[in-house]
Amino acid sequence: MKSEFDITADTAVSDPPVRGFRQRMTWLHTWGGLWAGWVLFAIFLTGTLGVFDDAITRWMKPEKPLVVEVASTSAERAQAVRLAQTYLQQTMPRGEFWSIGLPGEFDPAIRLFWREHEEAEFQQVRLDPVTGQELDKAADRETEGGHHFVHMHFEFHAGEAGIWLVGFFTMVMLIALVSGVITHKRIFKDFFTFRPGKSQRSWLDAHNVASVLTLPFQFMIAYTGLAIFYSLYMPAGIFAHYPNKDTYFSQLLSRPAPREATHIDAQVISLDKLLLTAETKLDRAASFVSVNHPGDSSASVRVFGLFDEEESEKYLLQPGGGNVIFDGISGEILDVQMPGEHRGGGAQAVQRVMGTLHMARFGGDTIRWLYFLSGLAGAIMMATGSVLFMVKRRQKALNEFGRHTPKVYRLIETLNVAVVAGLCIACIVYLWSNRLIPVGIEDRPHWEITTFFVAWLMALLHASIRPAAYAWVEQLALAALLCLALPLLNWLTTGQQVLGYGWQGDWERAGVELTVIGLGLLLAMIAHKARNKMSVPLSQSATSAAASRKAGAVPAPATYRNGILMHVLAATLGGYAVASGLSMLLPMMLPMARAEAVLASTLLSFAAYTAVIIWVFSVQAPQRAWRGVFFLAAGCMLTALLGTTLGGM
C-alpha cells in the first residue's frame, strides 16, 4: 500500500493528489472513508440491529403475553373506531390529523396519534378497545423498543435534518464503495484471503474480505436507501414538471391530491360507517384509519385494508392492503385502491421493490438473518477501515497535517474508540435501561433513549482521556460484560430467562437474548485480542512523540488545501447540480407517462451523481472539474427549462 498519497513528498508539485487514476481513487477512498466512516458505522450498526426491531420490541415489553388474540369482528372494529372518534373529538376537535390504529397482532389496544399543526408535538395514547378508557401506562412498559435503532439508522432522532445527514453519508458510502473497488487491485486473487496475526496486513485483509464478500449487499443497501427518500433528496425533477409534490404524487399514484385547509369549521362524519363501507369495498378487514384536517371542511378520511405480512413476504413487489379515501364531511368516496392493485407503472414498481429490499420486508427470518450477517460485515468493513488508517500511521506517521499531525491522529484514535466500541456500549446500555428505568414514569421511552445517548457520550469522554490502547480494551470489555450479564439482569428484574422463553416457544425473545450473548462473546474475544496487542511495544505516545519531533515537517500549503476544498465542492455541489439537471431533463426524453418518467429519472440521477463525483476526483485541476460540472449542469437545466417552456406554449 505505497500508493497512499503522501503530501510531504509532493507538496511542491501537487494540487490534490497527482499521479494516476487509481492513486487518486485510493486517496479518495482513504480520506472519504475516514471522515465518513464513523457516521456510517453508526448508521450500519443500528440498521443491522433494526432488522430485528420487532423482536427487540417484544423483548423490551416483557409484560406482554406471548399470544395476543387478534381476530375481531366488523362490529368490534366499528365500535373501536367509534370510541377513538369520541376520544379525539374531545381531545383535539380541530387540527392537522388524527390517526387510529385498530386492535391488531402487535397490540390489542386502540392506538391513537394526533397533531395540532406541523410545528406541534406528536401526541399519542392507547385506549381499551371495549371501554374506550385510556390504558394505564404502567400496565404496558412504554418503550420505543427496537424502533429506536431504526430511527437512529435513518435520522439519528433528528427528523428531516437527520434524514439529510444520513443521505449525505450514504452518497459518501457509494463513492467509498466505487473508489474502493478501483483501489483494490486483487479482488479475485484475494477473494478468500485472510491472514490473521500479521498486524497491518490482517486489518487490510479483514477490511477487504468483509467488503468484497458483501459487495452486492453494500451497493444495494446504499442505493435503495437513497431511493426510499428520493423525493426529499432529489426534488428538482419533480419541481421542474409539477407545481408541488402533492400534485406529482397524485398524478403518479392516480389518486386525488390532498386538499388545502379552508379554515371553515365542519364536523367529521361518523367514522364507523366509513369503516364498514371501506371493508365492504375492499372485501377485507381494515387495520388503520387516518383523518386529515379534522374539524375543517376540507377533511378527508382514509381507511387502510389489513396488510397480510406473512403472505406479502413471498414477494418483492408486494401486494398492498388497499385503501379507500372519503370526503370527511359528506362521506362521499373519492378513491378506491383495491388490495394488490398496483399504481404508478414500472418506475413506481422499481421504487417499491427498492424499499422492500432495503427494509428486509420479504423472505421472512431467513432474509432477516442474512441481512443481519451482511450488515454486521458492513459494520466490520467500516470499523476495520478506520482502525487500519491508524494502524498504518502508528507504525510510521505520515505527517499529513504538518505539525498538527499528532493532535489529529489523537482525535482520530479517540473517535475510532468512541464510535466503534462506544456505540456497542450505548446499544447494550439501551437494553439495560429498559429493565432498570421504573415502569410508569412520565416520558419513559424518552428516558431510555436519553440513557443511550448519555452512555455514548460517556464513552467519548472516556476515550478522550485514556490512552487509545487502554480505551479500546476497557470499552470492548465493558460492552462484552454488559452483553453477557444482560440475561442475568433480565432474570433479576422480570424473572424471565432464555430457557423459559425457549420452553414457551417464545423464539423472538429467546433469539434476542441468545444473539446478545453471542455478540457478547464476540466482543470479549476482540477485547482479549486487543489486550494481548497491548503488550507489544507500539505505544501511542511513542508515535505521537516521533511525530512531534518531526514537527518541522512541511505543513500543508494553502494552495493544496484550497485545491482539495475546490474538488470537494465541485463533487458535492457541482455533482448535485448535474444530477438535478439530469432529473429535470431526462423525463422529457423517456417514453412513459410524465410522473413515471420523473420518478425513473430521479432514481437514475443518484447513479449520475456517483459518476460525476468519481469523475471530479479523477481530474487533476479543480478548474477543469468545475468547468465540467458547470457546463453539464447548466446544459441539462437550460435544455429542460427551454423544453418545459416550449412544451407549455
Binding site: 477473494f191 478468500f192 452486492p216 420479504f362 421472512g364 431467513t366 442474512l370 441481512y371 450477517l373
Partner: protein, 115 residues
C-alpha cells in the same frame, strides 16, 4: 420445499461451492493440502465443481422462496458461505475441506428429503 430444509441446502451448497473455488487457487490449495503445486487439471476440476455447487445452491432458494425472493436469498447465502470458508482457511484448513465435502452431501440429502 420447507424453508428450513431449503436454507440448509442452500447454505451447504454455497459453502461447499466457495470452498471449491478457493481450492482452485494455489494459495488456499496449499493451506488445505500442504502441497506447493496445483496442477492445471486439479485447478480446472475445483473451479468447475465450485461453480456448479454455487449454481446448484440457487435451486432450493427458488423452490422455497420463488424466483424473485429466491435470487436475493441466494446472494445472501453465497456471502454467508464465503465468510465461513474465509474464517475456516487460516484457523482450521483441514477441517475446511472435510466439512465442505460433508456440506455437499448434506445439501444433496436435503434436496432429496424435500422431494
Amino acid at each position: 420445499m420447507p424453508v428450513s430444509l431449503a436454507a440448509l441446502a442452500a447454505f451447504s451448497f454455497a459453502y461447499a461451492g466457495m470452498t471449491g473455488l478457493s481450492l482452485a487457487m494455489s494459495r488456499h490449495h496449499e493451506q488445505v493440502t500442504g502441497r506447493r503445486t496445483l496442477s492445471a487439471g486439479r485447478r480446472y476440476f475445483f473451479r468447475v465443481l465450485g461453480w456448479l455447487l454455487l449454481i446448484l445452491a440457487i435451486v432450493p432458494c427458488i423452490q422455497a422462496w420463488g424466483a424473485a425472493v429466491g435470487v436475493v436469498v441466494w446472494f445472501g447465502f453465497l456471502t454467508a458461505g464465503g465468510l465461513l470458508i474465509v474464517l475456516m482457511l487460516p484457523y482450521l484448513p483441514r477441517l475446511a475441506a472435510c466439512s465442505a465435502a460433508g456440506a455437499g452431501i448434506v445439501g444433496v440429502l436435503a434436496l432429496f428429503v424435500a422431494i
